[in-house]
């Protein structure tokens, strides 16, 4: 009992800290625009292995995220490093984290086209090849760019991370999972030399892209599969509904993100729960039950004017 209270406290404080780091960036956005829509975003998440997981900014275990802005665009993204690389002595979090950090840098340097989020992912991926330090591994990724002057959101998604947009309490847009086969998503990879043939590697150009206009008050959830595999969509939508109109109250918004992450975390370790992941497994002829323990990243954003 004591143990669990201790954990809860620690997790919440961590969630709060992560949230707070993002209030500041949201506040900056407030200053820069007056008429055009912009994003207010918060983040929360947990590494699968909390005891030993990373606590660096921008990472939850092997997941990574970023949220940044250029003069006329807000850009957010998540990536989920593929854990299988651990067996090869490769840190799976490194690839995803470099991928996201490079995206962030490209945006800040203005080296991206607002109309092509897929191109941003591709550029970031090719930039990894330019590092002196060899970066190996693979990752799914989802990047969203809000073009403030046109109120258009453009997204690129590769693999089973994804986004969901709720307007007026209903899902109006969502990404589609890209899988080769069950539990094997599309992924960007840089395999160790010699393993090229045995490793799934999808070209960054194969990212699924989409484009839609956004309205003030839209709630956008960008998350890794740790969330979508464990929390059923109706529950996610119910939570996101609570976030509507919280653009000015980032603390409350943070609370919603925390609760989604916390829910995903709890469900993922629930052994007798019929999770979306388990349902999908059954459809593929695998007799499974329970959540899917995974790193969890929740990036929750509201379109504000």
């Amino acid at each position: 009992m004591m143990q669990s209270i201790f954990w809860t406290g620690r997790l919440l404080s961590r969630a709060l800290r992560n949230g707070l780091s993002n209030f500041s960036s949201a506040a900056e956005l407030n200053v820069s625009t007056t008429k055009h829509p912009y994003l207010v975003s918060v983040v929360c998440g947990f590494p699968k292995d909390i005891a030993n997981g990373r606590t660096r900014k921008g990472q939850f275990g092997d997941d990574a995220w970023f949220s940044t802005n250029s003069s006329n665009a807000d850009v957010i993204g998540v990536a989920d490093g593929v854990g299988g690389w651990r067996a090869y002595g490769i840190d799976p979090g490194e690839f995803s984290s470099y991928l996201m950090r490079t995206c962030e840098r490209l945006v800040q340097m203005g080296h991206f086209k607002m109309t092509e989020p897929g191109d941003l992912l591709a550029k970031s991926y090719y930039e990894l090849l330019e590092h002196k330090k060899p970066i190996l591994g693979s990752s799914t990724a989802c990047v969203m760019i809000l073009d403030r002057s046109e109120s258009v959101m453009r997204a690129a998604n590769i693999g089973d991370s994804g986004y969901m947009v709720v307007r007026g309490g209903r899902v109006v847009h969502r990404s589609h999972e890209q899988q080769h086969y069950f539990n094997t998503p599309y992924q960007l990879s840089l395999p160790p030399p010699g393993h090229d043939r045995n490793v799934l590697s999808d070209r960054p150009e194969s990212a699924e892209t989409s484009e839609f206009t956004v309205e003030c008050g839209d709630v956008i959830l960008v998350a890794t599969d740790g969330v979508f595999d464990n929390v059923p969509e109706p529950v996610l939508v119910a939570e996101m509904r609570r976030a509507q109109g919280l653009a000015g109250e980032t603390k409350k918004l943070q609370a919603v993100a925390n609760s989604i992450a916390w829910m995903a975390r709890n469900l993922s370790f629930d052994g007798c729960y019929m999770s979306p992941f388990a349902k999908s497994a059954r459809q593929n002829g695998i007799d499974a039950i329970g959540g899917k323990p995974d790193d969890i990243t929740v990036l929750l954003a509201i379109v504000a004017l």
């Binding site: 030993n52 330090k133 060899p134």
Partner: protein
């Protein structure tokens, strides 16, 4: 990371606060744009290690280490290794070099013109290479600071040398570097210019106007010449001859100076041969006797104007061309920025004096366009060496294939195409040195390599740096070049899948081998190479992940001539091992680059054995 975030945010703050100081605004600006540079480590299509990283506030400072977010220069860089390589080049006129030579430069612009008060360079890796700071005024370049290169150890620093106050506002700075004392590449994060804004807005606007007029007005007019003379020594000495040729009779009224006239001309000329251009020009002003001797064509067989890039204008070429009947070697590198030299002057100069040219360097020259290329081809048919590094803006590269006697061709970072490169190689079977590094328009480097293998049996050095289209098929063709001493295939990622092709090369003479970032090269490939390459002196294995300490042990023990070994970012080699090697093989310089900050520390050891499943 957190630290640098805080620091850079502080700088932004400072940047925006313009404090009032006796009607003048003190302004602090970070780099707005990078106008020009001599070389960069990063490739043309990426942002890592490129000059563009100088823009804006520092992104790494005060973290110290080898990061892709910084600007890294490359080639002829750190230490003296590049001078020891088979492809080393000598100055045409070493007497011209000032006490402090420079190897690289970068030119940066800021948003607003100011009277500079302070220039701060944020150095995040191997600081100490800066030797000069220049500011571009309305008419000329002005030297703000000059100092010896130094080695200050492994520590980040903000370098703000005391600068000369100038009375014109500037928004363009050029920094010159000399890396000879550094143990490894230097990396720069940002440049901060602190300066006083011109007092009132009207004046400010006028200043802006003079910039644009500088760029678009054809340069030489006699009335303007005086302005330039004031600031440029070279002009001070060359120009008067043009301006006042009719006065010459009056100059030579007195008796000849001393007994110099009794010496045979040959003797005086022999002495004068050791003079730099500036002194020669001064001699020419002493009297008619000296003028005749100092203008003698025999003294102008090799001319190196690179040290005078800041003051060489079109007029200098026009003046020199009278003395250059026997000109064989000409170095105009770095000259002609901001339209200080017009292409038509170069064309005329080449037509008048270029017939005997055997060596020509025009690295980083903005005036090189198609007309200049054609003039080279038309007049200098016996050219043996042609260096056009970082030359952009020409399209007619294929015309260079009319040259037949080239021994050295340097096209680093140009936009030559595959077909032009192949045509040039085919017509120059005597080619010994070729640099086609970072040529982004060469879509199939394999064709170039195959042409080299088929046509150039005497090839000594070839540089394919960052050629993403080079594959093992192309390299296989190089096996025909039995005299190959130097091969740089660093960052040829397509060739890096495996290192089998090392076995196809003729490496008996090989002295320098750069395999940077060829991730797939492994111990087996090197194992078979070592006994065949007894002369190997420089080996770069940066980022070659699979290479282990075992093979490096063998390399160090068996390659007796080895002097440079770069094992940076080789994951399999432990730091302690490198320390041990350094003790055991003191004659070998073993390089080990690093990233110091916590964001790249080794992963928590526990993550390899997760406990919670």
């Amino acid at each position: 990371m957190q630290n640098s975030d805080i620091i850079s945010s502080l700088f932004w703050f400072k940047n925006e606060s313009e404090e009032e100081d006796k009607d003048h605004l003190i302004l602090e600006q970070f780099v707005h744009n990078v106008e020009d540079f001599s070389s960069q480590y990063g490739s043309e299509i990426s942002v890592s290690y490129t000059a563009f990283n100088l823009r804006g506030p520092p992104s790494n400072f005060p973290d110290y280490g080898d990061y892709p977010q910084a600007f890294v220069m490359v080639k002829r860089t750190y230490g003296t290794w590049w001078e020891e390589a088979p492809s080393a080049q000598k100055d045409y006129m070493p007497q011209n070099a000032s006490a402090i030579t420079s190897q690289d430069f970068v030119e940066v612009s800021f948003e607003k013109a100011v009277y500079p008060l302070e220039v701060s360079i944020f150095e995040t890796y191997n600081p100490g290479a800066l030797v000069r700071i220049w500011a571009l005024g309305p008419t000329t370049w002005m030297l703000l600071w000059e100092g010896e290169p130094e080695y200050v150890g492994d520590t980040p620093r903000i370098f703000s040398p005391p600068i000369r106050q100038i009375n014109v506002p500037t928004r363009i700075l050029r920094l010159e570097f000399n890396h000879k004392l550094l143990p490894y590449y230097t990396e720069l994060d940002a440049v901060l210019l602190r300066g006083r804004q011109p007092a009132n807005l009207a004046k400010h606007l006028r200043n802006n106007f003079s910039y644009s007029s500088l760029f678009y007005k054809p340069v030489v007019e006699k009335g303007q010449l005086l302005n330039r003379i004031i600031a440029s020594n070279l002009h001070e000495n060359i120009a008067p001859q043009i301006v006042t040729p009719r006065n010459q009779k009056q100059i030579d009224t007195g008796p000849p100076l001393g007994d110099f006239q009794q010496l045979p001309d040959e003797t005086t000329l022999c002495v004068m041969k050791y003079l730099d251009i500036q002194s020669l020009c001064r001699c020419a002003q002493v009297n008619r006797h000296f003028n005749r001797l100092a203008s003698d064509c025999i003294l102008y067989r090799s001319i190196d104007l690179r040290p005078y890039w800041h003051c060489v204008q079109s007029q200098v070429l026009a003046t020199l061309s009278m003395r250059c009947k026997f000109l064989q070697k000409l170095d105009l590198s770095w000259c002609g920025s901001h339209r200080m030299i017009q292409p038509n002057y170069v064309v005329n100069f080449l037509k008048d004096s270029g017939a005997e040219l055997t060596h020509l360097r025009m690295n980083c020259c903005k005036f090189v366009d198609n007309s200049v290329l054609r003039a080279i081809v038309d007049t200098s048919t016996s050219l043996q060496e042609l260096c056009l590094r970082s030359v952009v803006g020409c399209t007619d590269w294929i015309c260079l294939s009319a040259l037949k006697k080239l021994k050295r061709l340097d096209l680093y970072r140009t936009d030559i195409t595959t077909s032009a490169a192949v045509a040039i190689i085919r017509s120059n079977p005597g080619l010994r040195h070729l640099n086609v590094g970072s040529c982004k328009m060469i879509s199939s480097m394999d064709e170039v390599a195959i042409a080299l293998g088929g046509n150039c049996p005497n090839l000594v050095s070839v540089d394919f740096w960052k050629s993403y289209s080079l594959t093992p098929n192309g390299i296989r063709a190089l096996g025909n070049c039995k005299k190959l001493q130097e091969l740089d295939v660093g960052w040829c990622l397509q060739a890096g899948g495996s290192g089998e092709w090392l076995g196809w090369l003729s490496v008996g003479e090989l002295r320098k081998l750069f395999l940077g970032a060829l991730r797939g090269v492994c111990d087996r490939d090197l194992r078979s190479l070592i006994p065949r390459a007894p002369k190997l002196a420089q080996l770069d294995l940066l980022g070659v992940r699979a290479v282990t300490a075992d093979i490096c042990d063998s390399i160090l023990a068996e390659c007796k001539d080895l002097r440079l070994l770069d094992v940076s970012f080789c994951d399999q080699i432990q730091e302690a091992q490198v320390v041990e090697w350094r003790e055991q093989y003191p004659h070998v310089s073993i390089k080990r680059s690093f990233q110091s900050a916590n964001l790249n520390t080794a992963p928590n050891p526990l993550f390899l054995a997760p406990s919670l499943e």
